[in-house]
């Protein structure tokens, strides 16, 4: 058994770090289960099989969206930390601060949404938090801002610490593989360091955008008389939101780079020139693509809109040419067993490609005119997440508990089928909803788009398949947890 994650003679510090990774992943999986079931509740409500009051539906919508974004960001960060730990020394203290910060943030979010009934959606588009229309009290908006502040601060500390750890061993040019890129030199820097640096720098920029956004919110909320420009706030919101979600994807991809070669019986990947080029380009494009969220704002300058489409188109290419071809080449003729972890990493990469194409299509201004804020949008980002980064991180977690506990992985077959069939069936209903012009984020569907209810009914059936697969996964995972912890 190849053991990337299980070091031969781990030091006490390395063991402690491993335990924290296990704690992070387990916490994330628990949150995923809870927040995922909330998603099922929403689908049941849209299917007219359940009748939630709208204020509860939209509070759940907010909790589900922010919960998922946050959960997979922290899970991805934990996975990245575990991988980085092989090469550099991320601080356990920073990870712990982030952990407790996240827990407090979760409590605040639960308070604001479930008790306060705050329903602002995951991107809380300005100035909605200030217009509760009698549904949520003022304190809920403040608790929500506190949630954002605490989550943002603790994650910034975490991101900065990883960068610090990388910087203490590598020069910037090395971490970004510039000698390889510009001079074609061989370099002893694993691709994961490059991906991490790109993701972390982009992530930091996204988090700083959130800081600016929050400062503007506070300035207005504290009654300074200042009012914000809705267009600027929207730009900041999607800058931060898009970058954070996008780099979460990259964090999962880091897991693929780290684990997939070994699981396919191949040596670790080297930082080749095309890898260096692709990820350096990604750093630029990830910051520009967010403009595609504002196509329907005619007040946005035209060249921003065009830049949005061009950046969105181009950002798919390095991903496809480098990561996807690499995964395919590692798969072909590998003869390795299809364990769940390997299968999940493979399927996750495929989901990235499929969701990516859905995103490219929707990032076409001409198409966006018909798809913007229809179910096509959750279709594409659920593909990215559920069938992409979630599978990658679940694959990582599966491998992690098995390596730590010293067990062989069980065969993947039924697990793979259930997750793939359930997942894609569930997603297909979103995509087809987009084709039928069904709006996203509707607690109930009016007559014009009543087909949305039928699609929701079908979707819940597929969710049950997916759920069965995830329960099998959870059973395997939980079974080994104690052993993994004690040997960790």
């Amino acid at each position: 058994m190849d053991a990337f994650l299980r070091l031969e003679n781990p030091t006490e510090a390395q063991r402690a770090y491993r335990r924290w990774t296990l704690l992070w992943l387990t916490t994330a999986f628990v949150l995923f289960a809870v927040v995922g079931l909330l998603g099922l509740l929403m689908r049941l409500n849209q299917a007219r099989w359940l009748s939630l009051p709208p204020e509860l539906f939209y509070a759940i919508l907010t909790l589900h969206g922010l919960g998922m974004v946050g959960t997979w960001f922290v899970a991805g960060m934990a996975v990245l930390g575990q991988i980085l730990q092989r090469y550099v020394n991320p601080s356990l203290r920073a990870s712990q601060i982030a952990y407790f910060g996240t827990l407090i943030a979760v409590l605040l979010l639960l308070t604001a949404t479930l008790i306060g009934r705050l329903g602002v959606g995951w991107y809380f588009l300005y100035p909605l938090p200030f217009y509760p229309s009698g549904v949520w009290p003022l304190w809920a908006s403040w608790v929500f801002l506190a949630f954002l502040t605490i989550a943002g601060l603790s994650w910034t500390i975490w991101v900065v610490d990883y960068l610090r750890a990388i910087a203490s061993r590598y020069r910037l040019s090395e971490a970004l593989a510039w000698p390889v890129l510009f001079r074609g030199r061989e370099l002893d820097v694993p691709p994961v360091i490059l991906i991490a640096t790109v993701s972390l720098v982009a992530g930091l920029i996204g988090l700083l955008a959130a800081v600016v956004l929050l400062v503007l919110y506070y300035l207005e909320g504290l009654g300074t008389g200042l009012r914000n420009d809705a267009l600027l706030m929207k730009n900041l919101t999607f800058f931060f939101g898009h970058v954070l979600v996008n780099i979460t994807m990259y964090l999962g991809v880091a897991g693929v780079y780290a684990l997939y070669p070994g699981l396919s019986g191949k040596p670790p990947l080297k930082t080749k020139r095309y890898v260096a080029a692709a990820w350096n380009v990604a750093l630029l494009l990830v910051l520009l693509a967010y403009f595609h969220h504002l196509y329907m704002d005619f007040a946005q300058p035209l060249w921003f809109q065009r830049l949005g489409q061009i950046a969105s188109y181009l950002s798919s290419i390095p991903a496809a040419v480098v990561t996807i071809v690499t995964v395919l080449a590692l798969t072909y003729g590998a003869r390795g067993a299809w364990t769940p972890s390997r299968l999940f990493l493979f399927l996750g990469t495929m989901g990235w490609a499929i969701g990516g194409m859905a995103a490219v299509i929707d990032s076409t201004i001409l198409v966006n005119f018909r798809f913007h804020n229809t179910l096509w949008v959750p279709g594409h980002f659920h593909t990215y997440f559920l069938m992409g980064v979630v599978l990658m991180l679940l694959g990582f977690g599966f491998r992690f508990v098995h390596e730590l506990s010293g067990h062989e992985e069980p065969p993947a077959r039924s697990l793979g089928w259930l997750v793939a069939l359930g997942g894609y069936g569930f997603l297909a209903m979103f995509f087809y909803g987009g084709v039928l012009s069904v709006p996203r984020r509707y607690a109930a569907y009016p007559d014009e788009v009543a087909s949305g209810a039928t699609l929701a009914q079908l979707a819940t059936v597929f969710v049950l398949l997916l759920l069965t697969g995830l329960i099998i996964y959870a059973w395997h995972y939980v079974r080994l947890l104690r052993q993994a912890w004690s040997s960790g």
Binding site: S133, A230, Q309, G333, A334, R335, I365, L366, V435
Partner: protein
């Protein structure tokens, strides 16, 4: 075929290509021998070129057709649209403040226009962001624009078929977002 369906089919085509390529890799994982690195690099280069050409083609085909009118043309009719939690007010008279909104809404969230006319919707919002969208009588989304506070967005449409075009809100705006609506009657 609706534009939505066309986009869907393009995507399905891609899904099929991706599925086939990943399927080949899975099939090849047990039977074949690993590909030589040079062959992988050649494929990578080929794929880069193909994707660059496709992206260029896609951009060239779609960017100039982005639905932002560039040439000014005098519309036959102006309809003022104001969003406010949770109804759209529509009127041929300006709606710029709460009173005008209330006056307009007193007559219902609708307006009548003639088919074939070039209509300019001047869309704004009194409170939060809303999404002004037009649904054809057979319930397909045909046009949309954001209603953003502090800005007036000008959306132009020509209705070729008579009937009632529903307006739904396409930007989440709060508790009755799904019930926020209006109508354009085309005669």
């Amino acid at each position: 075929m609706t534009p939505q369906m066309q986009a869907f089919l393009v995507w399905l085509l891609w899904v099929a290509v991706i599925g086939i390529v990943f399927g080949i890799a899975v099939r090849g994982s047990s039977s074949s021998s690993p590909p030589a690195p040079e062959r992988v690099d050649r494929m990578r280069l080929l794929m880069l070129l193909v994707l660059l050409v496709l992206a260029g083609f896609g951009l060239g085909l779609t960017l100039p057709r982005a639905p932002y009118p560039t040439a000014a043309e005098v519309p036959d009719r102006v309809v003022f649209v104001m969003g406010k939690q949770f109804a759209f007010a529509l009127s041929e008279d300006p709606i710029t403040n709460e009173e005008e909104y209330e006056e307009a809404i007193a007559y219902g969230s609708g307006v009548e226009v003639r088919r074939g006319e070039l209509i300019e919707f001047r869309v704004s919002s009194l409170d939060v962001n809303h999404g002004f969208s037009l649904y054809s009588p057979d319930h397909r989304l045909i046009a949309q624009v954001q209603a953003m506070p502090g800005y007036v967005n000008r959306l132009r449409t020509r209705f070729s078929e008579p009937g009632d075009y529903s307006i739904l809100c396409l930007e989440y705006c709060g508790n009755s977002h799904h019930a926020m609506r209006g109508v354009v009657s085309v005669r």
